[in-house]
């Protein structure tokens, strides 16, 4: 429900903005500065920061450009969550602040810090280049401008949401795997890769995919869904990542990488027993050598604690497996039919 417009200007609250500060020229480590200002309903975090910069401390540094939620410049962490300062209402944040009256403002994570709330976006651009986040048109350059590709609404809808991405890097900041390894492809780059790979005008699907299935690529995602949940444009980023994986298996086969083998194991086991055969999952994913090297000490501990999964022959099939298998296999036929008609 929306409030009557008059109420938007009613009342003011004193709000303390606890702003992350770091100037590499003089500071050996970051610190926080508190700025307390009166804020009325309807004011965004960005407008508050502008006010602080203009009236209290001109040295507070942050990026801002369109101030309308379209350019993606002012992404930062507000009370720990990555979002656009320009579309974030102060009173909304305040209602959920752990410390009453205090809003903590910090730079995005997972990108190198430049100063205060400003981080370096170059690594993200570098990854966009590395993963060919562009359409390499099937139409030769010399032919361009003469006629349109005919694109169905159905195809348009496949990448419509993905093209909403404004590269604000909120998802980059929230990504669990990037926290662990800065080399990881990044959610935004996976999203863009997906957007390109489902576009029928593109000619470099295979090359892009070949890069995506390598280390630090699409299979490293841990599906924590933080990217999707923090997306300022509400883009279902995980759908795109799943789409790429589906595509990887379809175009490169199930034995392509440890990621695809791992995923495929679920399919095989469910058909066979209705249950996952966990004991051999590491071997099927990464082979015997890897498993022995990486999991043997653990396995010993597990055995001591009787935590080891049952060996395959002892895994009991679920009740009614026979009839289940018939259904499962019949579905496999459906899928084959679908693929045939899709190819047509």
């Amino acid at each position: 429900m929306t409030l009557p417009t008059d109420q938007h200007t009613e009342g003011k609250k004193n709000v303390t903005f606890r702003v992350f500060r770091f100037n590499p020229q003089v500071d050996s480590k970051p610190y926080f500065d508190d700025y307390t200002i009166p804020v009325e309903r309807g004011i965004t975090v960005l407008r508050s920061l502008n006010y602080i910069k203009e009236h209290i401390d001109g040295s507070v540094s942050f990026r801002a450009f369109c101030q309308a939620g379209i350019c993606g410049s002012c992404s930062m962490r507000v009370n720990g969550l990555s979002q656009l300062a320009c579309t974030t209402q102060v009173w909304d944040v305040l209602a959920k602040s752990r410390e009453p009256g205090i809003i903590k403002v910090e730079p995005l994570r997972n990108l190198p810090l430049i100063k205060d709330l400003i981080v370096d976006m170059d690594p993200l651009v570098g990854k966009m280049v590395h993963y060919s986040n562009w359409i390499d048109s099937t139409m030769p350059e010399a032919q361009m401008g003469k006629k349109e590709f005919l694109i169905s609404e159905e195809e348009f809808l496949r990448y419509d949401k993905a093209t909403d991405c404004i590269l604000c890097a909120s998802c980059v900041s929230e990504c669990s795997i990037l926290r662990a390894n800065k080399e990881y492809v990044s959610p935004a780059v996976l999203l863009k890769s997906y957007r390109m790979s489902v576009d029928s005008r593109d000619s470099m699907h295979e090359q892009r995919m070949a890069e995506l299935v390598k280390d630090h690529g699409v299979w490293d995602c841990t599906h924590c869904y933080r990217c999707q949940e923090s997306c300022v444009k509400s883009i279902p980023i995980m759908d795109a990542i799943h789409g790429l994986r589906e595509d990887a298996i379809e175009s490169r086969g199930k034995n392509d990488t440890s990621g695809s083998k791992h995923a495929e194991a679920f399919m095989t086991d469910i058909e066979k027993k209705g249950k996952l055969i966990e004991a051999t999952l590491p071997i099927r994913t990464n082979g015997v050598v890897w498993t022995l090297q990486n999991l043997l000490p653990m396995a010993m501990k597990m055995i001591m604690k009787r935590r080891t999964p049952l060996p395959p022959p002892l895994v009991k099939s679920v009740k009614g497996i026979k009839i289940f298998r018939t259904m499962f296999r019949e579905m496999t036929e459906h899928v084959k039919q679908d693929q045939k008609s899709h190819k047509k």
Binding site: A180, C224, Q228, K254, T285, V318, T332
Partner: protein
């Protein structure tokens, strides 16, 4: 006695047997009965969805249909199984065509997916159906003096379009349960973060780093233990703890419990009865 259909997660049948064993011990104490669904199959563990979206819908449509046949809601104690089955439910409810296709197959087994049973996490049942007041009343050994780090895990929270019980970035239900059991929750920024389980076999280093961060914060906050509603998080944080912390150069450890064990302890069952001795860290 309120009855529910109980989904058997693969991992609870193998590596984390103590979860189901604990639930069996105390379910009647809290006035609930979880009827095990032995015909249920593996949900596909957030993988099947992109290997074959249609098999994914069939398998989980069937899992839900089994509960529907009993006229009961389907209760899950593994976050990923929960998220996976609920995702399938959402897809089926949104696509009459897909629903028709799987129902055509389910006929063979005399099953039909109708969309009448809810798919819920054990934690939600405890907080919403049993109720915190009842839980408070039934506590025999309050967890007072324990500082507990609530680790929700991802798939009980996100995607919020599929889960929708707690605020995905600021959840509270597990904190409430801990408090009802007499424990003290610590402010824990990793409460809604990832345990790393799903990349353990594909990107091990990254996975261990993710787990180490969560463990470190709990250790540094002087928590007595971590509690999680998910056996996968448990496996990552307990089973791989030594390796993760060694990697991160931390010489310390912290026990990790599943909620079913924590409840068992508060209701007066022994660590032995609950199978806590089977944990790697205990």
């Amino acid at each position: 006695m309120k009855r529910y259909a109980y989904y058997l997660s693969c991992i609870n049948e193998s590596m984390t047997k103590e979860v189901d064993r604990s639930i069996e011990l105390w379910q009647k104490d809290l006035g609930i009965e979880l009827v095990k669904l032995h015909e249920g199959t593996c949900c596909g563990g957030s993988n099947l969805e992109y290997v074959s979206p249609k098999h994914f819908a069939l398998v989980n449509g069937r899992n839900i249909a089994l509960a529907e046949k009993m006229g009961l809601d389907l209760i899950v104690s593994c976050n990923t199984c929960l998220m996976t089955i609920r995702t399938a439910k959402k897809k089926l409810d949104e696509s009459p065509e897909l629903k028709r296709e799987i129902n055509e197959l389910l006929k063979k087994e005399g099953l039909e997916y109708r969309g009448t049973s809810e798919v819920r996490h054990l934690l939600w049942v405890l907080v919403d159906d049993v109720g915190l007041d009842t839980i408070r009343e039934k506590v025999k050994v309050p967890l007072k003096n324990y500082r507990i780090a609530p680790f929700y895990g991802c798939h009980i929270l996100r995607p919020s379009t599929v889960l929708g019980h707690d605020n995905p970035l600021d959840p509270t239900s597990l904190d409430q349960l801990i408090e009802a059991l007499g424990g003290e929750t610590i402010p824990y920024t990793h409460k809604n973060r990832c345990c790393g389980f799903h990349t353990l076999l594909v990107a091990e280093q990254e996975s261990l780093n993710v787990a180490a961060e969560a463990l470190q914060e709990a250790i540094e906050s002087k928590a007595d233990f971590i509690v999680t509603p998910c056996p996968l998080c448990h496996t990552s944080l307990d089973g791989y703890q030594a390796k993760a912390l060694k990697n991160a150069g931390v010489e310390n450890s912290i026990p990790v419990f599943h909620i079913s064990e924590m409840i068992g302890l508060a209701l007066g069952y022994s660590a032995k009865q609950l199978g806590i001795k089977r944990h790697i860290v205990c």
